[in-house]
Symmetry: C2
Subunit: 229 residues, 2 copies
């Protein structure tokens, strides 16, 4: 598959490298196509790796990964170009963090009755946005088995086929079927995005980033709700 990854930070590069590793052709996109960080990544990742502008990467991919800082993601996607995103699956892994201090944990710039995932979906209505992977460190994102035991990744999105496509990529990263928790439509992205408030405090106690959460439930309890609510 051809995949465009937007964002050359730690997360973007981790996802892009892993996608190359599992057999995809990946174009990493940056604001400018000639920056050293991008050129180095391309050089280190072999023949299936290429680089370009945000627009180049988005045009290249049949799936586009948003791995930019959440607070600038809408601008980046704008630069990527509506025509290059039309009809495509956007795997959105960003969190709309507002970092105002080095000592205080970040707050969120979008939350409560909205989310970054929803904003992207509203701005690019023909794209099929799937929020996922935004609740853990990038080492765990792309290689969940570095952390032993059962733990979960969430997916949120309006389009079943797009979620299946994303689930298939997650499977290639090592996420077992029983670890992928489909929360529902794109409005459910609020939950994983707001989870960052808990995550950032857990980090300060655990003091490293190799952790995640596992959803634990009793399979024998009678449902209180009908299926498919």
């Amino acid at each position: 598959m051809r995949i465009g990854v937007l964002g050359t930070g730690m997360v973007g590069k981790a996802i892009a490298s892993r996608l190359v590793e599992v057999g995809h052709e990946v174009r990493l996109g940056s604001r400018t196509s000639d920056n050293e960080n991008l050129l180095n990544w391309v050089e280190e990742n072999g023949e299936s790796a290429s680089g370009g502008t945000f627009a180049d990467a988005a045009a290249f991919g049949t799936v586009v990964v948003n791995a930019t800082r959440g607070i600038i993601s809408l601008d980046v996607l704008e630069a990527a170009g509506e025509e290059n995103l039309a009809g495509k699956t956007i795997m959105d892994v960003a969190n709309p963090l507002v970092i105002t201090s080095e000592v205080e944990p970040p707050s969120l710039g979008i939350l409560n009755d909205d989310s970054l995932g929803e904003r992207i979906q509203r701005r690019f209505p023909t794209a099929r946005v799937v929020k996922t992977l935004n609740t853990m460190n990038c080492d765990i994102m792309v290689n969940p088995k570095v952390l032993s035991g059962h733990h979960n990744v969430f997916v949120s999105g309006n389009d079943k086929a797009a979620k299946d496509e994303v689930a298939s990529l997650l499977g290639q990263f090592g996420w077992g079927e029983d670890t992928i928790f489909d929360l529902g439509d794109i409005t459910t992205a609020r939950g994983p995005e707001m989870f960052v408030a808990l995550y950032s405090r857990m980090f300060l106690k655990i003091r490293h980033l190799h952790f995640n959460i596992s959803v634990v439930w009793d399979p024998n309890v009678e449902p209180l709700l009908p299926e498919g609510v």
Copy 2:
């Protein structure tokens, strides 16, 4: 121990009954001391159970549990009386939910750079607020072993002795020491309170309330931060 529980909803009654069960004297507090719900609870829970107004219950307890709806908790604590809360541990299990629709999941009335736990602490500065138990259904709160496997409860608070006192009550409910995750000071209550956005969506998929999360981490990774940050 003498414990005052504020709130006669499902959560308040579940906690109050369980506290009686594990050997405490409990006074359940309501807006009025003669309402049927309260009188029934007293009658059903034996000699260690009593009822009264919010002020009666707060005055009675050496520990006071806030199990009211979060959006009215500050008013309830005001009614309970500053003098009845002074110097006491307040175990705050409430979430500041704003419910505007029967179909939409609730939003939060306090969040991001503040939390209900913090507001209570600011309003009652000599009380020792400990946020806990607000991340799961009341069946799990008071009897965590109904759910098999490892899963966690969070505590947040400024006062170490108050957190120890709460941890001891949690232990009596059945929370093992390795399941009690101390997040830090009362500002960390933002995390568990904002977790409700994820919790409410997990519920719609799991379709019953016998679930929780477990924090999973690798004990062998080198810390990135010094201890006690």
